[in-house]
């Protein structure tokens, strides 16, 4: 099966861990700290998040005030990151857009995670026909062409959701739902694989023998063990979702023009790349830094949560 190969290839599957959760956490942290780039990524991410959360409270310049006299200016005191072609303040727009871009990444990841854990756990625990059916559906979804389908669904339904939920919220829900809805399969597979390997292990058997109800078994014993690989997959999903959103915006199919997500700013800036590069470079760098940091953190987590992992000495 394609799925089994994927699972085989990812080292996460080997993270069969003993149930000593507390010492595991400290051990993981110790390992994570040694991954310098991951640490760096974590610091960058934390800083970015802090700036995005606190920034708009301190930096009060409105993001949508039009001033043609100041259009396409490079960084100045009044506009620390310069202005766009309407003379709107770029820093304010990037701060606002970053919240949306990050929110898209996080919410899409949560959706993918929830769906994936639910489906994977159900399949892994129930086994038999249910397992078979769910895995067929997972296969089917894995075979769907992601980007084309993403483009298609958003293009077709964005006006509908805009009417139903308003321009901003509607598009947001649509984008996170579609991105998340197309990315749960990996998590589902990981969780299921974890189930299959853990179900027969002593401590779960013991719990079952003691008459622990199914849900309790899953929540207390099996899920924590699947936590490692899933958290890694989830962190990478955040990065993928941010890129997907910016790609959509770049193709003109993302958020509406008055909602300046990073991808959207980049899309608007592409025509003036040669004489006002600041307009593209700041949001471009923001996307790049965020995604890079998340990838590093994911990599660090992978190392940290896999006890068999070779580490630099």
């Amino acid at each position: 099966m394609a799925g089994s190969i994927l699972a085989f290839l990812t080292p996460e599957r080997r993270a069969v861990v003993e149930p000593r959760v507390t010492s595991l956490a400290s051990e993981a942290w110790r390992r994570f700290r040694r991954h310098r780039l991951a640490l760096f990524g974590g610091v960058v991410l934390a800083t970015l998040a802090a700036v995005l959360v606190v920034g708009p409270l301190i930096y009060r310049t409105p993001m949508n005030e039009i001033d043609f006299k100041a259009k396409l200016r490079g960084p100045t005191l009044a506009h620390p990151l310069g202005t766009d072609d309407l003379g709107q303040d770029l820093l304010a727009r990037i701060l606002y857009g970053g919240r949306i871009s990050l929110a898209v990444g996080l919410v899409a990841m949560l959706i993918a995670l929830t769906l994936g854990v639910l489906i994977g756990a159900t399949a892994g625990y129930a086994g038999g026909f249910v397992d078979h059916l769910l895995m067929r559906i997972t296969d089917l979804c894995l075979s769907l062409p992601q980007l084309p389908l993403l483009l298609l669904i958003i293009y077709l339904f964005r006006d509908f959701v805009r009417r139903a939920f308003g321009p901003e919220a509607g598009i947001f829900f649509l984008i996170v739902a579609v991105i998340g809805g197309l990315r749960w399969m990996r998590v589902a597979r990981l969780v299921r694989a974890q189930f299959l390997s853990l179900r027969e292990q002593d401590f779960v058997q013991a719990a079952r023998g003691l008459g622990a109800p199914a849900r309790r078994q899953i929540v207390r014993h099996i899920l924590p063990n699947a936590f490692g690989p899933v958290i890694v997959a989830a962190s990478l999903d955040v990065a993928a979702a941010i890129i997907a959103e910016s790609t959509l915006s770049f193709l003109g199919l993302g958020f509406p023009p008055d909602i300046p997500t990073w991808g959207r700013i980049l899309f608007d800036a592409k025509d003036t790349l040669d004489h006002a590069p600041h307009w593209a470079i700041f949001p471009g760098t923001a996307i790049f830094l965020t995604v890079l940091s998340i990838n590093y953190v994911g990599d660090g987590l992978r190392d940290a949560l896999d006890p068999r992992r070779v580490l630099p000495s």
Partner: protein
């Protein structure tokens, strides 16, 4: 073995039918109108637009349209493009060679980068080489392709004026010049796509090889006193080949999807740009056909990966 392959092929069929139902339903709920441009043209009476809708069977109920489409597909009739008034299969066939050329070159470039770098990184994990390679790979797949594409155009076409940024399918030349022109205009799209794909593949290859290196028998080989080069050459690479080949096959369809953006930026007349144009023009039969082609590719490469994997790994039996 043939029985196993046959079984896998048979399993793929319901998957494809399922995919086609998903795609068809998504499209059928489309609010767009393939004849929208006519509607803005003051001189075209609405009756004509209505008549065209009827002529192309857009007013029938959904299941009727689906069954009609599926049976036609089974007969080899892929439908008729609203926009071009020609058969969809011809339209796609016209675009496919360019796509295959650009994507194939990009994938080769990606492999040429990923295989040696990935293996070397895995052999010496956390060495300086590995650190640099890892950093570059991370940078590579953290940069969205549309951004690199734009930067390339800015640098190589506009500032340096070395390369054309508009891809032309038929070039007015023959022989070597034709080849050279084609190569020249393909450099940027191939590089953008190949570098991105290469970065991803490098990570996969590194992980796969690392897996094998850590296996016990490798340690045994080392313990037996075999030289490091021999250990790697004889035991590691051969065994690492299994997952690497599988990964290479599995990753292949993703490049098709990645190409949508690149083809759009450089105006490569491939099926990716055809898809975007068709989506924007609500040319349903074309959209349907292309997304379906993508799905078939994904399923096919999954199948190939499975078969190769089974064939290479002696631990799997087909009983």
């Amino acid at each position: 073995m043939p029985k196993y392959v046959l079984r896998r092929v048979l399993i793929s069929i319901p998957v494809l039918v399922g995919i086609s139902i998903v795609l068809f339903s998504v499209l059928a709920l489309a609010p767009g109108d393939p004849f929208e441009e006519l509607a803005t043209n003051a001189n075209v009476p609405p009756e004509v637009a209505q008549r065209l809708r009827a002529q192309f069977g857009l007013d029938d109920p959904l299941p009727v349209r689906y069954v009609r489409w599926l049976t036609a597909l089974a007969r080899g009739d892929w439908g008729f493009s609203f926009q071009s008034r020609m058969n969809v299969d011809q339209l796609i066939l016209q675009r496919l060679p360019v796509s295959l050329f650009v994507l194939g070159s990009a994938y080769l470039l990606a492999l040429a980068l990923a295989l040696p770098i990935g293996i070397l990184s895995a052999v010496r994990p956390y060495s300086i080489f590995d650190q640099i390679a890892t950093t570059l790979a991370f940078i590579g797949f953290s940069l969205p392709t549309f951004f690199t594409g734009l930067l390339f155009i800015l640098v190589f076409s506009i500032w340096l004026d070395w390369l054309p940024f508009i891809y032309r399918a038929d070039i007015d030349a023959t022989g070597w010049r034709w080849l050279a022109e084609h190569a020249r205009q393909a450099i940027m799209p191939v590089a953008v796509l190949g570098l991105f794909e290469g970065a991803t593949l490098t990570r996969f290859v590194r992980t796969s090889v690392l897996e094998v290196i850590r296996l016990d028998y490798v340690n045994t080989a080392r313990a037996k006193g075999l030289s490091e080069a021999r250990t790697i050459g004889k035991h590691v690479v051969r065994n690492a080949l299994i997952p690497v080949v599988t990964v290479v096959a599995l990753q292949c369809p993703t490049i098709f999807a990645g190409a949508v953006v690149t083809e759009q930026i450089f105006r490569v007349p491939g099926i990716g740009s055809l898809l975007i144009a068709a989506i924007l023009a609500s040319d349903t039969p074309v959209v349907l056909a292309i997304t379906f082609v993508y799905s078939v590719l994904v399923v096919a490469f999954n199948l190939i990966a499975d078969v190769i994997y089974g064939w290479l790994d002696p631990r799997i039996s087909y009983a």
